[in-house]
């Protein structure tokens, strides 16, 4: 078993970066660490970037991008940077002065350009660098904690030596993600110093935060390798939410425990080499100082007595109602959408099975390498009217990269090629490559319902959208949009033809991320039809005190989804077993 994470014994460097997939509890762990260090008399600055963060409630003080002293904890200072907000500010700073001076269509084009994921990342890094490289900050605090870390892509871009050689100005092929940040040259030294601090093991510890589940462990491993590769060697792994005390007579509790243990045995080999500590699964929400202190104390406890006379159950339909709805309306293209780990592949498979049971001809296609359909339908009992295919993101991206390099690469010199290759590592590339593959798939499947387990973001859709006036320009200047893509977009926008199901969990971060997905899709004029809350403890009958406590904390998120966010909402109870195979998937339909 893992030792408990106790910052007193572990933290040695002035800078701490917490990284991990959304929803693993980076902010809570960072916050608990900060409080613990401050309690020891260290002067601590906590830099939060989590827009879902309830830090303001926890600290009972308004946080801004400038550090403020936290009244309830001696020596603790905190600031809050919202990367989306930082990107927006940056965007406005760049575009604002040209409003009115250039026509609207031109301004819109500039804005959309600066709306990608890369701009957000770079804007966040820009904020970090000030703190990392600012001597007065470094001298003022014993520890500076960041609740997120830059990705390898960002760091590599900043390290590319040619980024500073004037290449940007001279070449038409400036790196995409740096290109929009004009005036970057002035910050050369700042960024260089920030990157140096990051890769100095005596200055920086990278804390990988993961849940004991397969997908977040895989994500932690990916981040670990990528950042090691760029020189960040000093790493630590924290398994957050380890369930340690099962109630033997409670089925859910036993299954919950076993599921975690099984996932941990699947920890990637490389990740096993890293020093690993654990933080317990707790029943309470981390909304006050005491709970945070206990979380990383010598003897963390999992339960706090809470008055739970509130036994209200929120009534929501099950997955069967989603299937009935699509079946009755004869929806032709169905996307399940959501961040990794929320179970969208299983849900897509279950929808496909449900529709085929109702006599529809269905084609199911997926990108999830962790849940290949052959595996999901292990028993091989496929029905005549259900066909499946899988799109391997790695293969598609590789194919796309080769295509790009063979067309554009041959004209490039060495520096140009280096840039082109780095551009191809950007998140946009993967999306575009996949969307093209999906479009081909939808094109091929005539006369059947197509169920797809992932969906592109609004940004990608807008980029691909050759019917929008301001994107005519982009599509012309970046080559022809394939026919299959052109035909797909209007279909996606037609609610009679397309249904989007947003899959989420009843927790803060997944709900927030899903909210963003929805906003982003609406930007591209696609309105999600259903929200599905997956793996809900609230929807089970567990009596285990810890799990029941957690079920109670789920309620506010379930309410938020059903009352505020979703046009229609459904819920699926937590289950210990993964539904594998046609017969098992049918379980979902019988709710």
């Amino acid at each position: 078993m893992y030792e408990s994470f106790n910052p007193k014994q572990v933290v040695q460097t002035p800078f701490l970066f917490f990284t991990g997939k959304g929803g693993v509890g980076k902010t809570s762990v960072a916050c608990a660490t900060a409080v613990s260090l401050a309690d020891q008399g260290k002067k601590v600055l906590l830099v939060s970037t989590d827009p879902a963060s309830n830090l303001q409630d926890v600290f009972k003080i308004e946080l801004t991008s400038d550090p403020v002293e936290i009244p309830s904890v001696n020596n603790l200072f905190a600031c809050n940077i919202d990367p989306e907000e930082a990107a927006k500010t940056y965007r406005e700073k760049t575009v604002g002065p040209y409003r009115g001076k250039l026509p609207d269509s031109v301004v819109t084009q500039m804005e959309e350009q600066l709306s990608g994921a890369c701009t957000v990342e770079i804007a966040a890094f820009d904020e970090f660098s000030h703190l990392l490289a600012d001597d007065t900050i470094v001298k003022q605090y014993d520890h500076v904690l960041f609740d997120t870390a830059p990705t390898g892509h960002t760091l590599r871009l900043l390290q590319l030596p040619t980024a500073w050689s004037g290449f940007l100005q001279e070449s038409t092929h400036g790196a995409s993600c740096l290109g929009p940040l004009s005036g970057l040259g002035e910050k050369k030294d700042l960024y260089a110093q920030a990157v140096r601090s990051l890769s100095n093991g005596e200055k920086t510890t990278l804390i990988l935060v993961s849940r004991p589940d397969v997908s977040s462990l895989e994500e932690a491993n990916r981040a670990s390798l990528e950042l090691k590769d760029i020189g960040i060697q000093n790493q630590l792994l924290i398994i957050n939410g380890l369930f340690q005390t099962q109630s033997p007579n409670d089925e859910v509790s036993t299954a919950f425990y076993e599921r975690q243990q099984k996932a941990l045995t699947k920890t990637p080999v490389e990740l096993k080499q890293i020093k690993t500590l654990s933080v317990p699964y707790v029943s309470y929400s981390l909304t006050d100082m005491d709970s945070l202190r206990h979380l990383v104390s010598d003897k963390p406890f999992a339960e706090i007595e809470e008055n739970s006379d509130d036994n209200e159950i929120i009534p929501l339909p099950g997955l069967n109602e989603i299937i009935d709805d699509f079946s009755a309306k004869n929806t032709r293209v169905i996307f399940t959408m959501g961040k990794g780990g929320v179970g969208k592949t299983t849900i897509a498979s279950a929808i496909a099975v449900g529709l085929s049971e109702k006599g529809h001809k269905v084609h199911l296609t997926t990108t999830d390498p962790a849940a290949h359909l052959a595996y999901t339908f292990k028993d091989g009992a496929l029905k005549d009217n259900l066909s499946i295919s899988s799109i391997n993101p790695k293969t598609e991206v590789e194919k796309y990269k080769q295509e790009v390099l063979s067309v554009a690469g041959k004209e490039q010199d060495e520096e140009g090629l280096a840039y082109l290759k780095e551009d191809l590592e950007s998140p946009c590339t993967e999306e575009i490559a996949l969307f093209k593959a999906f479009a081909n798939m939808v094109e091929k499947s005539q006369d059947e319902i197509v169920v797809i387990d992932t969906a592109p973001t609004g940004h990608t859709l807008l980029l691909l959208d050759s019917t929008e006036t301001y994107h005519k320009e982009i599509s012309r200047s970046t080559g022809d949009v394939p026919d299959s893509v052109k035909k797909l977009l209007p279909r996606l926008r037609n609610p009679k033809e397309t249904g989007v199901v947003i899959v989420t969990l009843a927790e803060a971060t997944p709900v927030l991320e899903a909210t963003r997905l929805q906003e982003d899709l609406k930007r591209a004029q696609i309105v999600p039809k259903w929200w599905l809350i997956n793996q809900s403890l609230h929807a089970t009958e567990t009596k285990d005190p810890i799990l029941a406590g957690r079920a109670n904390t789920e309620k506010r998120w379930i309410k938020k989804v059903s009352d505020e966010l979703a046009e229609k909402a459904a819920i699926i109870p937590w289950t210990g077993e993964e539904k594998i195979g046609y017969a098992k998937l049918k379980d979902y339909i019988r709710n």
Binding site: P103, S105, L463, T469, S477, T478
Partner: protein
């Protein structure tokens, strides 16, 4: 000596690789510009995302943008006059305007050759 300016539209990434497909035109224009520069021509490119100011200051560009909107890009200016808008010039046009043999515009940028001693 003639002076050539090209005002590019904003692109998701300037390499175009994040776009729906790679535009061979972009790479063609890039190598033509490279060749022209090598021959000492005064060629400048402005990208809407990096140098929006130029799109305001240049009266001719601003005017065509006001008239046609973003569709007018890319705009090519030869010695202060717009010679082409809404698409990139062809190699023939470049060669006409600048009195260069079209065949000479197909030079590829030089690639440095590196020798890996370990592999010899």
């Amino acid at each position: 000596m003639s002076k050539l300016e090209i005002f590019d539209p904003a692109m998701c990434c300037s390499t175009g690789v994040c776009g729906p497909s790679v535009d061979p035109d972009l790479t063609r224009v890039a190598s033509v510009v490279y060749s022209l520069e090598k021959r000492g021509f005064d060629v400048t490119r402005f990208n809407l995302s990096n140098d929006p100011g130029e799109f305001v200051e240049n009266k001719k560009v601003n005017q065509v943008l006001q008239e046609k909107g973003a569709d007018a890009l890319p705009v090519t200016i030869l010695n202060g006059e717009i010679v082409k808008d809404s698409s990139y010039p062809s190699n023939e046009e470049f060669s006409d305007w600048l009195q260069v043999d079209a065949a000479d515009l197909k030079d590829k940028p030089q690639t440095r050759v590196t020798i890996d001693i370990d592999k010899l």
